[in-house]
Structures are given as C-alpha cells and as structure tokens.
C-alpha cells in the first residue's frame, strides 16, 4: 500500500501529459460558438448590387442556406471563392455577407471572380457581424429552413471541411427523408 503511493506523482505526470497532448491539435483561435441552435439574428441591410433593396432574414426563409462572410480585404476569401463557385454550381444556396467592405471593390471582385451568391448582404459597418459574433473573415454558417443556425465554420471551407463538418448535416436538412 505504501509502495503504491510512490506512484502517485508518476500517475499525475502521465495524466497531465495526456491532457496537454490532447490539447495540442486544437486551434486556439477558434472560439466556442454562442449561436448554434439559435435563430439567425434579424437584420435589415442593403443588398450589395442594389443599394435601394433592403434584405433581411425573410429573403432566405424556408430554405437551407449557407451564409458566407467575405470581404475583398480578406486574403483567404480569394482561395475560398473558387471553391464556393463550385459549390454553388452543385446547387447549394449561398448567401454572401459582405463584411466591412467597399461596395465598388466588392462588385468588381464578383465580376472578375464569379458570383456564387444568391445575393450579398452589404454590411459596411459590421453590425450584423457583431450580432453573429463574427470576428474575421471568412466565416460560414449553415442555416436550416426554420432560420436556425446549425453549424458555423470560422476560416476557409474547402472539400475536407465540407466533408467533415457540413455535408452530412446539409443533406439531412435538405432531404430529411432520404436514406
């Protein structure tokens, strides 16, 4: 019995080591999401290409959509944009949230790189961004037909992220009865 107590420090060290090792792969930049399972915040903001038109949650109500936060100043968005074009071509509905950007530059961007978005919300002051808890671009939200945020990805979405985090959930939301 007394001998076994000698192993306590070793056990503690191994436990601490295991805990620290398990934390190694985690991204410290990634914040826990406060809005998963919550409704997409209500908003009324101009549309990017048509400043006269105000858009809100009603514009994608009843549909399963991705809301993608993008900006021309965001370098990673360039890489993601190519992938988003492909995804839109496959029939996934994507709403753009043009975050703290310049309207002319954003329109130019869509003209030269293609437009994967159904429409883009023009959030020049980042107010919807604050309501969503956005702290950078790109970010992508999966919103279900009831307007509930089901998943959030901070950073670029690519094939790997889509397969790991989005695809199953998306297909389940789009066609709940499919096998």
């Amino acid at each position: 019995m007394n001998r076994l107590t000698l192993f306590i420090p070793l056990i503690l060290c191994v436990a601490l080591g295991a805990f620290l090792y398990s934390s190694l792969g985690k991204d410290p930049q990634e914040l826990p999401s406060a809005l998963i399972g919550e409704p997409f915040p209500a908003f009324s903001l101009p549309e990017l290409s048509d400043p006269q038109r105000q858009v809100g949650t009603a514009d994608f109500e009843g549909q399963v959509v991705l809301v993608n936060v993008w900006a021309t100043w965001c370098f990673a968005c360039r890489i993601e944009h190519v992938w988003l074009n492909d995804l839109a071509a496959k029939g996934v509905k994507i709403i753009g949230l043009n975050y703290k950007d310049d309207r002319d530059m954003a329109l130019e961007w869509l003209k030269t790189r293609g437009n994967p978005y159904q429409f883009s919300i023009f959030d020049s002051r980042g107010t919807l961004g604050i309501d969503l808890g956005v702290y950078g671009a790109p970010e992508t939200y999966l919103v279900d037909a009831n307007g509930i945020i089901r998943h959030r990805r901070v950073g670029v979405v690519d094939d790997r992220v889509w397969d790991n985090e989005f695809r199953d959930l998306y297909q389940q939301l789009v066609a709940p009865d499919a096998p």
Partner: protein, 189 residues
C-alpha cells in the same frame, strides 16, 4: 576618424534635421493619444464604467488582449457598440450578456462560475486546503513518531554538558563558519 559623425555634429544641417524630428514627434503624440480621447459621453459618469468594461472584456480576434489595448478593427467596433449601449442606459451586466450571447464566454476576462469553470475557480482554495492537510498530516505523524519511540528523549544533564563541551571546543577552531567570519571582521573594526 568618422567623417560622417563629424558632419552630423557641426553646421546648420543637423540642427535643422533635429528640429524637423522634434516637430514630427510633437505632431505625432496627439495622434497617438487620440485613440483614447476620441470618446465623448453625454454623462461623464459613464466614462469610468466604459474604461472598466474595456479592461474586463477580451478582443475576440486576439488571444490575450482586452478591448482597451487592442487596436484590431473588431475591437474598434465592439468599443463603439459598448459606447452605444452605455449611452442607451444598459447596465454593465446587460452589456456583458449582450456580448456573451454573440461571442461566447471567451469574451469575458473574468469567467463566470459554471459547470465548465468551477474547477478553475475553486483550484486556488482547493490547493491551499490540500497543502494545509498535507502539512498537518506530516507534522502530526512526526509528533506521533516521537511519542511512540521511547529511545528518543530530551538530552539528560550529563549529555547536555558533553554537548556544550563539544560545541565549545568547536567554536575555538576555525571550522565554525560563524566564528570564522567574526574573526576576520573584528580586526578591521
């Protein structure tokens, strides 16, 4: 030796250069101060609360900076948002809740006590209690051992005399460190 440094030390050119530098520094300081000063309140009593909130809330983009220190764009936005909420009459708690519902608990530098943080919060007290328990355990065990072992007892009169003799002998030699040092010091005084 160094012709260039000589040139710097004489004539009107370097003095001009210094004046320009001084002017530049003079002009730059208000710009740097403006980051703090630009906020104005309808009621000055809001300012200390504003400052306190900025100290206690974390910039979501930065790993370890509060909103007061960070100059990232998102911190700018959040400072503006806090300012707006203060002007609208929100309490500190309401403002924290507002930001927490959007940016999660990460934004609070002083996390609330809940199922995920109770261990963190109780750790200092817990470790102190654990340390005291260990201390108590070992000191009691030491005393019990002393009481349980009759072979060890206080030195008798004879033993004490021998002890004193031994110590007295030793103090006469150079081996005793305390005496050693005093012997060196005393002649100097």
């Amino acid at each position: 030796m160094h012709p260039e440094s000589n040139r710097l030390n004489r004539g009107p050119v370097p003095r001009n250069w210094l004046k320009k530098l001084a002017l530049l520094l003079l002009l730059s300081s208000p710009v740097m101060a403006a980051v703090e000063e630009i906020v104005s309140f309808s009621d000055e009593s809001l300012r200390p609360r504003y400052q306190q909130l900025l100290e206690e809330l974390r910039c979501p983009k930065c790993q370890n900076q509060n909103l007061a220190d960070s100059n990232s764009p998102i911190s700018d936005d959040l400072r503006r948002e806090i300012h707006r909420l203060l002007e609208e009459g929100a309490t500190n708690q309401q403002i924290k809740e507002y930001l927490k519902s959007r940016y999660s608990e990460f934004i609070l530098y002083r996390p609330e006590v809940n199922s995920a943080t109770w261990f963190l919060w109780s750790a200092p007290v817990g470790l102190l209690v654990l340390g005291l328990l260990i201390l108590f355990y070992f000191s009691r065990r030491g005393r019990q051992r002393l009481a349980a072992n009759p072979g060890v007892k206080a030195p008798s009169g004879e033993e004490q005399q021998r002890l004193a003799a031994l110590l007295g002998n030793q103090s006469g030699t150079n081996e005793h460190p305390a005496n050693n040092s005093s012997e060196i010091k005393e002649p100097k005084q």
